[in-house]
């Protein structure tokens, strides 16, 4: 039995920020992470971050990951267990954690769930062929492990992930034959699209993949134009040779652990699907259990950093009341609001206002 004060599940930007905020408030923290290294999706982000200097704008994601992981390692109040997966949860705050050699039982007073999100699949014939990969997975292969995913890629999705991963494929020397975006417009930042367009990659809006081909592995796909009803227009199909089809069609929060713990979840499309009900202190419907980052609603790493910070502050404040808690919280909330302002934040604002209206949600 390992006793701690705050268990943080997930060592990506939200979990790292939560651990640092909680430990700086005086709490003992156990940070558990499924992978062998900390950093979550940050360890693959070779591009420079947007946002403001407070969220490390202009700094490459990989550098932010390294700095945060280094800070966590240097805090004696934070214990880090990598290659550790949360398996189960029992009433009273007992977590079952699977480590390489044994299963540990962890008892904490508070828990912060920062487990992130997963790629959504897309339905079309042969969508399960080896060679059809999530875009994040391709990014991990290339940027973390230095392995090329293939020679010629078709990317599905022109949101930020599709655009950024396409650029990173070019940087790795892989050909990107086309980007297919089902909507009539690019969904991600236009500067990302402009960068790809300059390199000669066609961004085909109102298009999608309708079938994949290959006996044991992917050798090509059929694409088609979509009509106003989002269905393929007959006669517009054309084939593209490729050995990788990258799916970047959205992320959904991972809610299994939250459900196991007994948190109420609700379905909010603008946040990515099912998401744990939480209040603006990021506390779920289970007292003492918080959620932050993509697990609380799919957004950006910059937001995950601030949400993690807020959740860590809130979790620790319950154990070690901080005199400047409200001021500290207010400053972080203002940063989040600034990030979410403007036209590109419209979707997340709709999602969050729906969350605020959920009956019986959190500690309204």
């Amino acid at each position: 039995m390992t006793r701690t004060e705050i268990v943080v599940v997930g060592g990506g930007p939200a979990g790292l920020a939560a651990s640092l905020a909680a430990s700086r408030s005086g709490a003992k923290v156990l940070l558990i992470e499924r992978q062998a290294q900390l950093g979550g999706q940050l360890v693959k982000q070779t591009h420079r971050f947007f946002g403001s200097s407070a969220q490390s704008a202009g700094v490459r994601g990989i550098t932010i990951a390294r700095d945060l992981a280094g800070q966590a390692a240097s805090m004696p109040e934070i214990t880090v267990w990598t290659q550790t997966e949360a398996l189960g949860y029992y009433a009273g705050g007992t977590l079952l954690a699977e480590r390489p050699e044994r299963v540990e039982i962890v008892q904490g007073a508070r828990m912060v769930l920062c487990v992130g999100a997963s790629e959504r699949p897309l339905a079309f014939p042969n969508n399960d062929l080896p060679g059809v990969y999530g875009a994040g997975a391709v990014q991990t292969l290339m940027n973390v492990y230095g392995v090329l995913p293939g020679r010629r890629v078709v990317m599905v999705g022109a949101g930020n992930i599709g655009l950024i991963v396409s650029y990173q494929l070019l940087q790795a020397g892989v050909e990107v034959a086309a980007i297919l975006e089902a909507a009539p417009q690019v969904g991600g930042y236009l500067v990302h699209a402009a960068k790809i367009a300059r390199a000669g990659v066609p961004i085909m809006t109102s298009h999608s993949v309708v079938a994949a081909f290959g006996e044991t592995e992917l050798v090509g796909i059929r694409a088609a134009r979509l009509g106003p009803d989002w269905r393929p227009v007959p006669g517009t199909g054309f084939d593209v040779d490729c050995d990788v089809l990258c799916l970047a069609v959205g992320l959904s929060p991972l809610v299994e652990l939250a459900r196991l713990v007994g948190c109420e979840v609700c379905y909010i499309p603008e946040l990515g699907g099912y998401v744990p009900v939480h209040d603006d202190e990021l506390e779920t419907t289970v007292p003492g259990v918080y959620v932050a980052g993509d697990a609380a609603g799919v957004e950006e790493a910059s937001s995950a950093l601030i949400e993690g910070h807020l959740a860590g502050l809130a979790a620790a404040h319950g154990l070690y009341p901080q005199v400047d808690y409200e001021a500290h919280r207010g400053a972080a909330l203002a940063e989040l609001e600034a990030l979410r302002a403007g036209p590109t934040g419209a979707k997340i604002r709709v999602g969050l206002s729906k969350m605020a209206q959920v009956k019986g949600g959190g500690r309204q």
Binding site: A36, T46, G116, D128, P130, G136, G146, L148, E217
Partner: protein, 100 residues
């Protein structure tokens, strides 16, 4: 195929280890996911589903179960997150695999 030069990233040299896949000797880097070592060797078909369809890498976060392989007789190993060790004997998982 492995990336040799990258405009942003440095890939420092890592310890090479020998392992086998379907009896064939391969080299990979210690600690990298088994699926990455196989991908580098051009191997993308990792399992055969009940019913016969080939499957491989997909999510890379240990979530989707598409990448299960058998390691040293142990089935249901998530090759996308399981670190490669020297001497591992890896094979495709056929169907549900066999528990020891």
């Amino acid at each position: 195929m492995r990336i040799k030069d990258h405009p942003i990233l440095d890939f420092p040299p890592r310890r090479e280890v020998a392992f086998t896949f379907e009896g064939r000797e391969l080299i990979g880097y210690e600690g990298e996911p088994i699926a990455a070592a196989l991908q580098a060797a051009g191997i993308r078909v990792l399992r055969e589903m009940p019913g016969g369809r080939p499957r491989g890498f997909f999510c890379a976060i240990g979530n989707c179960s598409s990448c299960y392989v058998v390691v040293d007789g142990r089935p249901n190993v998530r090759s996308c997150i399981e670190p490669l060790r020297e001497g591992m004997r890896v094979s495709r998982q056929i169907g549900h695999g066999e528990l020891r």
